[in-house]
């Protein structure tokens, strides 16, 4: 999947929101086959780091490469479909059914429509496919987000509190997804406020505090 070489290489990256530095001089390298656990307190910059790695934020200074694309220029638009990101708020359209939500992404990404039903079945939502997202519980919406990731088969996973709002079977599912991705030569970054949640899965862990990695 991934051409030989690093998946993430951040050199002295800083990210600002307004004048506030949310990330400061971050250095991070992730190789194929690695799963990085990032833990830290609320407001430490975990979500910002994930959105930066997802190419959704531009660094204020420093240089960074994700999947071979420079974060500072338009190359980042070309690798986005290879990144699987699940934030802490589900990004589903409430008026659309789970099936429609996933079909929209499948069409936009050029994925065969049959994959929608099979991914929903894989996360145990086959029976809820025609239910509107607004009447699904938070846990179901998170499962639907994982179905989207299964369907898109990204090489680089970015999960914000991967196990929150999920029951036992779904937790196993997420763990399997992470393992399969890194075994196939991809990588993953897992973020949590609780070290024990990510330590089992991660090949190495870093702590984030005050916008700095250690």
């Amino acid at each position: 999947m991934v051409e030989n070489g690093t998946i993430v290489s951040l050199q002295d990256i800083s990210v600002r929101a307004g004048a506030t530095h949310i990330l400061r001089n971050v250095i991070l390298n992730v190789q194929p086959g690695e799963a990085v656990g990032v833990f830290g307190a609320n407001g430490a910059g975990k979500t910002t780091l994930l959105r930066l790695l997802a190419t959704l934020l531009k660094p204020a200074s420093g240089s960074g490469v994700v999947l071979g694309a420079d974060l500072n220029n338009d190359e980042r638009y070309e690798v986005r479909h290879r990144i699987g990101y699940i934030g802490h708020v589900p990004g589903l359209y409430p008026e659309m059914t789970l099936d429609e939500n996933l079909s929209f992404i499948a069409t936009a990404m050029g994925i065969d429509g049959a994959a929608v039903a099979s991914s929903l079945a894989a996360v145990g939502l086959a029976g809820a496919a025609d239910r509107r997202a607004e009447v699904c519980s938070h846990g179901m919406q998170r499962r639907a987000e994982f179905a989207r990731i299964l369907m898109a088969q990204p090489e680089f996973l970015l999960l914000d509190e991967p196990h929150s709002a999920l029951d036992g079977s779904a937790v196993d599912l997420v763990d399997d997804l992470v393992r399969q991705t890194i075994e196939a030569g991809g990588a993953a970054v897992l973020v949590s406020h609780d070290r024990s949640r990510v330590d089992d899965l991660a090949t190495f862990s870093v702590e984030i505090a005050g916008g700095t990695l250690s």
């Binding site: 997802a54 638009y77 479909h81 008026e95 069409t107 990404m109």
Partner: protein, 223 residues
């Protein structure tokens, strides 16, 4: 990019139309609101038939401009950051997103214009000369207004009081469309060529499309 610009834009259009079909915001809120406005004006200024006949077409276009903006900006206050992230990471080009959203608004605006045109004809008894030009002018106004509204909505995006601000940005800039639409029929009434006006509206539409496509990435990155 694995899919074409066209596929991505069409996916966005389909999504927006589906959301509108489910929420019915345009059909059950904006459209009746516009129709009520057409009903209120004669109550305020008098129901003298020749007067109504004279002002009918002009009022129709003013209502289309002012209320049509609400259609073009509806996504400005409904789309969340998480939804925007999902769209971005599906590899959808921001420019395709702009075109797709504008296209969905365009279809809704055409329907809006068509219904209000019928209401105007019924309430104001406007003369129907030159009606053959109506579809063309409706298409141009619909395209211009949807492109302008979508662009304004992405400029204000997530800021405070975003949904209140967009109409203020759009209304003064929609003047060429309003003049073009009304003067097409004025020119026809006077027996002159209306080509200049349709040409002007076409230029407005093209320039807005170019401006929106060129600024799409810049506007997305700050979101």
């Amino acid at each position: 990019m694995r899919t074409t610009f066209r596929t991505q834009a069409m996916a966005i259009t389909k999504r927006d139309l589906m959301r509108e079909r489910r929420s019915g915001e345009v059909l059950w809120v904006t459209l009746p609101f516009g129709a009520i406005a057409l009903l209120l004006i004669p109550i305020a200024i008098g129901t003298d038939r020749p007067t109504l006949r004279a002002i009918g077409i002009g009022l129709f276009w003013v209502i289309v401009m002012l209320f049509g903006v609400l259609i073009a900006v509806r996504q400005a206050h409904t789309e969340t950051q998480a939804q925007r992230d999902v769209v971005a990471l599906a590899g959808i080009d921001p420019a395709a997103g702009y075109v797709g959203r504008a296209l969905a608004s365009f279809f809704l605006l055409i329907g809006f214009e068509a219904v209000l045109a019928v209401v105007t004809v019924a309430l104001y008894d406007v003369p129907l000369d030159g009606w053959i030009w109506m579809p063309l002018v409706m298409v141009l106004v619909g395209a211009g207004l949807s492109l302008l509204g979508t662009l304004a909505a992405s400029i204000v995006s997530t800021g405070r009081s975003a949904s209140a601000l967009v109409p203020l940005l759009v209304a003064p800039l929609s003047v060429p469309l309003l003049i073009g639409a009304t003067q097409t029929f004025e020119a026809l009434r006077l027996g002159r060529s209306s080509l200049t006006w349709t040409l002007m509206m076409t230029i407005v539409v093209l320039l807005l499309a170019i401006a929106g496509v060129l600024s799409a990435r810049t506007l997305q990155e700050s979101g």
